[in-house]
């Protein structure tokens, strides 16, 4: 019986403890259920988002870049279909075999081949390896014919930048190339839209209008697994192409400028004198921007970079040249405006035997024998230096600089459009004191009168200056972009005090080209339809010594770097002017013999094209 009662106590204890534990179990179970409720019901949204974040990944595709068109709607920077070859390494059964086969088919050099192999090691096996980025059609079709043999190789047609006019527009448009660290960090737009292989503008308008041109990315949304491999595509969101930008440039004239400057270093700018529209703007030598799109080869780059004619410099905007005699219209105008002289003011040019002498310095005219008695018109026509020495001496540099600045010298023509554009320099006494800490001397005024010394101008400034003289002395704002919304502003701000003065200068420039003994008389066009007026300039790059004067060498006998710059500014047709141009040939020699003949050829085309341009405008309005 004791045994039994012992058993009973034991069982009682067991059952009691079971009861305690059962209660505990129910509480714990409740805890688990409430935790489940918390996670799955209360916090469901949060975890659902996290789960989607886990599994959904977006891939941005390169946006399609906007195009550049010329005035007539021809594409000057467009997009073309580049034939590319992609490989996804993990989809290739025998990578070694395939890659060697491709090497054979594409005739890859060992260097290119090793570059591809290196790139393959850097990427994940399911990422795309670009084997060829811009294949010729022959190679592309060759690959297509051998596809049966190349498992996992994908021929792809992708969109890339194309400059159909090659070197013609390089300095206006600039070029695109792969975006680098610097591009990404300085431009938020690029940062936002960046994808590997994105091409962005590096210079010129391509860079300036990056935001308008870049467009927006297409987005592919994929479901991915934990290792980042794409499982299935969920959505495709098409991006917008960048804006198309229409320029005021006429491709025909642009091509002609390129042709005229062939094998020369220099610049030609052509401008509409009423609208300020740039008709052509070329800097020579140029280079083919297409080479940069897929990355330029080192050899080609060295060739461009080390060229003594400096193809990388946009001479139209950032070439600082002494204007030489092309400044004379402004000197004369300034003197007339300030009533220092009138058109009958006469100076006697006595030639090299009797130069102007001031404080021991002598100032020679370019003509050995001297010009004799010169009035304003004759002085301008024959570009008599002695005449302008005297005018400048009487005028003073400060008054001259006011007029020069008014007519567009010494400041950027396009303001913010190009970051490489230079200001040029129009000196005055104040400037010298501030910049050099020295007082202005009279001798410096004298040489400023013939566009030498401190004064520096860019070709586009000279073009603007000429245009503003040609249009009767009214302010214009040069532009490169056709803006359809812009209202034609008929109110021109006059830059003159007396419009008669402008007329005198125009006449003097006319005689320089169209009258006998004019410096560019040989380049004249007799047909009144094409007749133009101009002013030559020959800018010295070094001081002429007595020895040089005695030797009197021909241009080709002087070392290239020491030859004079040849300049020419002109406007036409003379009867009712419409276009102005400036020509600068670096180290070309005399402006009258080298630069002016180019103007003759240009004006023929420019004036013919004017009709076409007008008709195109009218037709455009009819279409609406």
């Amino acid at each position: 019986m004791i045994n039994l009662s012992d058993n009973v106590t034991k069982l009682n204890s067991l059952n009691r403890r079971m009861f305690i534990l059962a209660t505990a179990k129910i509480i714990i179970l409740g805890g688990i259920v409430s935790r489940l409720f918390f996670l799955q019901v209360k916090e469901n949204k949060k975890y659902l988002t996290l789960s989607d974040k886990n599994r959904i990944r977006e891939w941005k595709l390169p946006p399609v870049r906007g195009e550049f068109k010329d005035y007539f709607g021809n594409t000057i920077a467009g997009n073309f279909e580049a034939y590319q070859l992609h490989i996804i390494p993990e989809q290739v059964e025998d990578f070694r075999y395939v890659i060697y086969r491709i090497k054979e088919l594409l005739d890859l050099t060992d260097r290119q081949f090793n570059k591809i192999l290196k790139k393959k090691d850097e990427i994940k096996p399911w990422e795309t390896l670009i084997v060829g980025d811009n294949l010729s059609w022959e190679k592309f079709s060759k690959i297509n014919n051998h596809l049966y043999d190349l498992n996992g190789v994908k021929p792809v047609i992708s969109i890339s930048r194309d400059y159909p006019y090659k070197e013609n527009f390089t300095h206006v448009l600039g070029y695109v190339s792969q975006a680098n660290e610097n591009d990404i960090s300085t431009n938020d737009e690029i940062k936002e839209k960046f994808v590997p292989g994105l091409k962005v503008g590096k210079t010129g308008l391509e860079k300036t209008f990056e935001k308008k041109l870049i467009g927006s990315n297409s987005v592919e949304r994929y479901e991915v697994n934990a290792y980042g491999r794409r499982i299935s595509q969920l959505a495709f969101q098409k991006g917008d192409k960048g804006q198309t930008i229409r320029l005021t440039i006429d491709t025909k004239i642009q091509e002609l400028t390129n042709h005229l400057l062939k094998d020369k270093a220099g610049s030609i700018c052509v401008m509409d004198i009423y609208t300020g529209a740039i008709i052509a703007m070329h800097s020579s030598p140029s280079f083919d921007p297409n080479s940069f799109v897929f990355g330029i080869s080192r050899d080609e780059w060295q060739l461009i970079r080390n060229d003594p004619m400096k193809p990388l410099v946009n001479k139209s905007l950032s070439g600082n040249y002494s204007p030489g005699s092309t400044i004379k219209p402004i000197v004369a105008l300034s003197a007339l405006e300030n009533e220092i002289i009138n058109s009958d003011f006469t100076v006697h040019c006595k030639g090299h035997k009797n130069p102007l002498e001031l404080y021991g310095q002598t100032y020679h005219c370019w003509k050995k024998e001297g010009h004799g008695f010169m009035n304003l018109k004759e002085g301008m026509k024959q570009s008599c230096d002695t005449y302008f020495y005297e005018v400048a001496r009487r005028l003073g540099v400060d008054k001259l600089s006011v007029t020069a600045k008014k007519f567009g010298l010494g400041k950027k023509v396009f303001r913010d459009l190009f970051d490489i554009e230079k200001n040029g320099l129009v000196p005055n006494t104040q400037w010298k004191k501030n910049a050099l800490g020295k007082n202005w001397v009279l001798g410096e005024t004298i040489i400023t009168g013939i566009g030498q010394g401190f004064i520096q101008t860019t070709p586009i400034q000279l073009c603007l200056m000429t245009a503003q003289i040609a249009n009767g002395g009214y302010k214009i704002y040069p532009k490169l972009i056709v803006n359809n919304n812009e209202k034609q502003d008929d109110k021109f701000t006059p830059l003159y005090k007396k419009s008669k003065n402008i007329k005198i200068i125009q006449n003097a420039m006319f005689s320089s080209t169209n009258e006998i003994r004019g410096t560019s008389y040989r380049s004249r066009i007799d047909d009144p339809k094409y007749r133009f007026a101009g002013k030559t300039g020959t800018a010295q790059v070094k001081k002429i010594t007595e020895r040089d004067r005695e030797l009197d060498l021909k241009t080709f006998e002087i070392p290239y770097e020491e030859r004079d710059h040849a300049l020419y500014v002109a406007f036409g047709p003379y009867k009712s002017p419409r276009y102005a141009l400036s020509i600068v040939i670096e180290h070309g020699g005399s402006g009258g013999t080298v630069a002016a003949p180019l103007a003759k050829e240009l004006f023929k085309i420019i004036i013919d094209r004017h009709e076409i341009r007008k008709n195109y405008d009218n037709k455009k309005y009819l279409d609406i």
């Binding site: 069982l11 079971m18 059962a22 799955q40 886990n54």
Partner: protein, 374 residues
């Protein structure tokens, strides 16, 4: 005397089959079905290795359980010490000749299958201790000798498993043993003091932990500490469960598991996958099935005549409950990650074998509920 003979006479095979607990059996079958479906989902909606293997194991072990249940409980009682000794031998064998996988020696090669003795120990330690306390008078339970001996029975296999190393399983073995001690009537104060002691010594224990174990504990305390490393499992598991919502993402549509964000989805994290695909409602149903199973096990214990059967059923039911709670708390981010499978649901032969042996003995207690053991 009369009664005994009456029951003895009627204790034929047919009678035994009638006496089986059919509610428990059907719950186990439903659970088996659910686990197969989940396994099918982990294989990505195809019948692959895990599904096939799990199916075969479930069928074999289910019939093994039925066989066990038809054998007299007395036989299992008599096997108590011997089976413990055999498993202990296997554990020692494991340490010397075990198969090394992912840094620990847990399996032994029995030529036709690899077995994990530590999983079996979880059941046989209950059997052994139940037998030990069955004979003991209530006054002796709290004697120094009894306490020491039972603690040795627990500590020997536990330490053998720790050095494998397998902290999770050794903890579960210890818990199984301690549960038996609790039911056997060990004084509450022992539990109280040992709890106090372990809390005090916790920092010392942590300093002895292996680096990966230490990082698990630290990660549990702050999963964002290393979201791609040690915290990854907890974070991804919580995301999977949480994103399941009320009704779940649907069968075979659990993105977290399908896209391989879930680690260990066949074994320890099987509940995560189930919960992601079937949601809150599915999880509650699963919990309900487990609750019914545990209730039936305890009920069988309550109806059993012998103390041994009672002690075994109670302890086994409670142990199963604790395994489930630990596994679920782990995947729900309530406790640090310790390797502990979800009974029957998780993939793993040894775990299922042990669980099924346990249910077999419980079922045997049912069919022989009137059997007393001397």
């Amino acid at each position: 005397m009369y009664q005994y003979t009456r029951f003895d006479n009627k204790n034929n095979i047919f009678q035994k089959i009638i006496n089986l607990d059919f509610i428990l059996l059907s719950c186990l079958l439903v659970l088996g079905f659910i686990s197969l479906a989940t396994m099918y989902s982990t294989d990505g909606g195809e019948i692959l290795f895990h599904t096939k293997s799990h199916f075969i194991k479930f069928v074999i072990f289910f019939f093994m359980m039925l066989t066990i249940s038809l054998i007299n409980i007395k036989f299992w009682f008599s096997l108590g010490y011997l089976s413990y000794a055999i498993i202990l031998g296997m554990l020692i064998w494991t340490i010397n000749f075990g198969i090394t996988a992912s840094g620990s020696k847990r399996w032994i090669d029995l030529y036709f299958l690899n077995i994990q003795p530590s999983e079996l120990m979880k059941i046989f330690i209950i059997l052994c201790l139940s037998k030990y306390f069955h004979r003991m008078k209530i006054q002796h339970v709290n004697s120094f000798y009894a306490v020491c001996f039972s603690l040795i029975i627990i500590f020997v296999p536990m330490s053998l498993v720790i050095i494998q190393p397998d902290l999770g399983t050794s903890l579960l073995i210890a818990i199984s043993g301690i549960v038996v001690l609790w039911f056997a009537g060990l004084n509450h104060k022992y539990f109280f003091y040992s709890c106090l002691l372990s809390i005090i010594s916790l920092p010392i224990i942590i300093s002895f932990l292996k680096p990966y174990q230490k990082s698990r504990v630290l990660t549990f305390l702050n999963p964002d500490r290393d979201p791609l490393g040690a915290g990854y499992q907890i974070i991804q598991s919580k995301i999977a469960v949480g994103s399941g919502g009320i009704t779940g993402k649907g069968f075979l549509k659990g993105t977290q598991s399908y896209l391989e964000f879930l680690p260990e989805k066949h074994t320890d994290f099987i509940f995560t996958l189930f919960s992601e695909e079937f949601g809150f409602i599915g999880s509650i149903i699963l919990l309900l099935i487990y609750a019914i199973i545990i209730y039936r096990v305890i009920r069988i214990g309550a109806l059993s005549r012998s103390y041994f059967a009672k002690l075994f059923c109670y302890s086994f039911g409670t142990s199963i409950f604790i395994y489930i709670v630990i596994n679920m708390s782990m995947v729900l981010g309530l406790v640090p990650i310790v390797g502990s499978p979800l009974p029957i649901m998780s993939y793993g032969g040894s775990s299922m074998l042990a669980t099924m042996i346990g249910f077999g003995i419980v079922m045997s207690a049912k069919t022989h509920s009137q059997q007393s053991i001397a």
